[in-house]
């Protein structure tokens, strides 16, 4: 057997993790609202993210109504359409996915999976949530100010973002930038917390190489976010200054609608570099936690050890590092120096290698597994299909010259929705079906879950797969309407209508999921402590849902990696991380539980 399996029973360090002083809540407000318990904060993050995500979902319906049936809905004029696109994109990427993976799953799972009592800085952690909430509220406020939210596209490119030809130029853009700055401040507080907790508060025996991949994904993503968000922060501040004080960081001499403006000397491309220096890592900030979580879902529900754990960890870390040197693949046609194309195309395609390794290892985990098609597993499979699809079209867009005709077309929209829209959302759903029993003590209804999965997976595929072909045809993205052209055949309009109808159906399926979340709180089957018979620590808590401080009197001690499923010679098909040795071997060695 391999080295890893031997390592699994390695020695336990003697040093005790010092017991942590937990802030003790007094009364309802500090228990449920201003709570410093990471589990409550995680739930608060998740609910807030889902709520604002609903707004983004509704906006996507409105856009699809316009694209599928142009001119039918008179309240969707070009201004409104561009506002919908912008808010939809920004909410989905930042306020939903980033917040849900790191703030939601991160807060709930990091202490539990590592055998800690809580995050190391509980107060800062609480602050992080409230600042996030404030950021969301500022963002939402922009729907109600004169002129409405900004319509600059989620990339917020200047000069357009702050000139009058773009809707929301008065208030919307200011609120957007302020909200982003708040979000980043809040995230930085949470993020530092996650990193220090992972590095400092692991329980005895939880070596780095025994951590579940979920934690590796979240840890790496958090480190990346801490490095990437500052670029967006300075970009946002400078753009705000350009807008409010009339500085010219990003504004060259320009003439707007026949009027010479007072700007001069700035560089619009500089903003693009700052934006994508954040924006590309952002894709992986969303993807890496998804990679980690999906690995754990697959292993647990296939009852098989994750294949190639060490490769998986290295792949996560390497992807994280490389993703800081590929940002300008979003700028192949931006007018930057053409020689950059060689460099960024090469780095971009190199990232495909560790990414492919991850896909192989998921497949090889299924191979010779004992696959239970529970709802979380279905979502994990849906993730593999959509992620591979979107990853492969990334090889088109990353390969600089191929990107030239395809950039800024619907091909790009299809690509990024597959890879960073649908795929991570699959993991979020899978993760929710998987951990809901721990969070609430009840199972989500699996019949509703299966309907939810099939409609969402097949529907999303039917929306975004054909969309690539609209892009090949040459239909540009961010078009209010394609109108009259010589190259778009009438049949493409039928395709657009089809996509819109499917989008409405997929949206409706999400209502079923929300209903399930609420319904199962009372009517779900009783889950018990470990319904999936999983190995990781969060399933071994003395209470379900875990109580304040997670572990009762004593912290768990970890003896093995997180993937001891179907260990030869052990009758039960899983061995929890805190179980000293397989029962038989234990007798032989006479080892006692501490």
């Amino acid at each position: 057997m391999s080295e890893l399996a031997h390592g699994a029973d390695g020695p336990i360090p003697a040093a005790e993790v010092p017991e942590m002083e937990l802030p003790h809540p007094h009364g309802w407000w500090t228990t449920y609202v201003f709570s410093q318990d990471a589990k409550v904060i995680g739930i608060q993050y998740s609910l807030t993210a889902l709520a604002i995500g609903m707004v983004a979902l509704v906006l996507s319906w409105l856009m699809r109504l316009q694209l599928g049936f142009p001119g039918t809905f008179s309240f969707i004029d070009p201004q409104a359409y561009y506002q919908f696109i912008t808010m939809h994109g920004m909410i989905m990427v930042v306020y939903l996915l980033t917040a849900l993976f790191l703030g939601g799953f991160g807060n709930y799972l990091i202490p539990l999976m590592l055998g800690a009592r809580d995050m190391v800085f509980p107060f800062v952690n609480m602050l992080s949530y409230w600042i996030y909430l404030l950021a969301v509220l500022v963002l939402v406020a922009s729907f109600f100010v004169p002129g409405g939210p900004t319509g600059a596209g989620w990339t917020l490119y200047p000069p357009q973002a702050i000139l009058t030809g773009t809707p929301g130029r008065d208030w919307g853009i200011v609120l957007m930038l302020v909200s982003l700055c708040l979000f980043i401040a809040g995230f930085t507080m949470g993020g530092l917390n996650y990193v220090v907790t992972v590095l400092q508060a692991r329980t005895r025996g939880m070596t780095l190489m025994r951590m579940p991949l979920t934690i590796w994904g979240i840890l790496t993503a958090t480190v990346m976010a801490l490095l990437a968000f500052p670029a967006l922060f300075v970009g946002a501040v400078m753009l705000l200054l350009d807008r409010v004080l009339g500085t010219s960081f990003f504004m060259p001499t320009l003439v707007e609608m026949g009027q010479q403006l007072r700007y001069g000397g700035g560089s619009p491309i500089l903003f693009q570099h700052l934006f994508w220096f954040f924006g590309h890592p952002e894709v992986y900030i969303v993807a890496l936690p998804a990679f980690g979580i999906v690995s754990d879902l697959i292993s647990t529900h296939a009852r098989r050890n994750i294949f190639g754990y060490r490769m998986m960890v290295w792949a996560i870390v390497v992807i994280g590092a490389l993703s800081f040197v590929v940002w300008a693949h979003h700028m192949y046609v931006s007018g930057m120096h053409p020689w950059f194309g060689f460099f960024f195309a090469t780095t971009t395609l190199i990232i495909a290698i560790p990414t492919a390794i991850k896909v192989y290892n998921w497949l090889l985990t299924l191979w010779h597994g004992n696959i239970h098609l529970n709802v979380p597993m279905l979502f994990a499979l849906g993730f593999i299909v959509t992620f591979v699809n979107g990853g492969l079209t990334g090889l088109f867009l990353g390969n600089v010259v191929v990107d030239v005709p395809l950039s800024d077309t619907m091909f790009v929209v299809a690509h990024f929705h597959m890879v960073m829209g649908v795929a991570p959302v699959m993991v979020i759903f899978g993760g929710m079906y998987h951990w809901y029993p721990k969070v609430t003590g009840r199972m989500l209804d699996s019949a509703m879950g299966k309907v939810h999965f099939w409609v969402t997976f097949l529907g999303a595929y039917a929306i975004f797969f054909p969309m690539h072909y609209l892009g090949l045809l040459g239909v540009p993205r961010r078009y209010y309407e394609i109108g009259e052209t010589s190259f778009v055949p009438a049949s493409a309009h039928d395709l657009n209508a089809f996509i819109s109808v499917v989008a409405l159906v997929v949206g409706a399926a999400q209502m079923l999921f929300l209903f399930n979340l609420i319904w199962s709180l009372w009517h779900g089957k009783d889950a018990g402590p470990n319904p999936w018979r999983a190995t990781t620590l969060e399933w071994q808590t003395p209470e379900t849902p875990p109580g304040h401080g997670n572990w009762g009197r004593e912290l768990p001690v970890v003896y093995r990696w997180a993937y001891d499923y179907a260990v030869p010679g052990v009758e039960q098909d899983f061995v929890p991380q805190n179980q000293p040795l397989p029962p038989r071997a234990q007798v032989a060695k006479g080892d006692a539980t501490p």
Partner: protein
Amino acid sequence: MIVALIFVLVAVGSVVFHLLSPWWWTPIASNWTYIDATITMTFWITGGVFVAVVLFLAYCVFRFRAVPGGRATYEPENKRLEVWLTVATALGVAAMLAPGLFVWSRYISVPAHATEIEVVGQQWRWSYRLPGPDGRLGAVETRLIGPDNPLGLVPGDAAGQDDIIIEAEDLHLPIGRPVKVLLRSIDVLHDFYVPEFRAKMDMVPGSVTYFWFTPTRTGTFDVLCAELCGSGHSMMRSRVMVQTAADYQAWLEGQRSFAQLANRK
């Protein structure tokens, strides 16, 4: 088993869709057939991988589904398999990257004898400028732009006097002659996009960007803007007519130069 079958259908359905799709790129009208060839090749490689992955997934779901008394095999690692897969992937990636970079080097090396023309974008219309008999475009400055100098030519520059200015009309190009398209914007980002030419590039206020191509087919082609530029973005249209040398010459005679336009005022 149904789940495995559905995944097979997703893979097969995608291939069938690809083969039968009436939506495919518009016939090319420039020299960039290389780009199309690279895309086609990328389609084959990635399509093969996609189908293989999804079919393998479906196979696993079918073959290794949970059965009473079933049990997985314990195998944490398999170095040989992992190395083998990594190398194969690296080769596949290199097979796509190499031609891609080769074509890119063509894309960015403009032939010495290419004619320079200029496209100017502004919210939300296109203007064009062609060099006059001297074959050179005169200097421009954004701050000189005004009602009687819409493109901001420097009045004192001799090279600019014979430049042909085309406002609110179609651009005409002769077939078979390479053109270097200089791109300029006077307000926000735009992107000069003609699907049939395949080539495109953003226009950035404050700098001049470019791309080159050779028109290879006569006809009239739509010009669209491919970079969000405000609420008129999707309405920012124009057309390019690619003509035979004789037709082009005839059209050119009817156009007015910067000096002629200035004198009329």
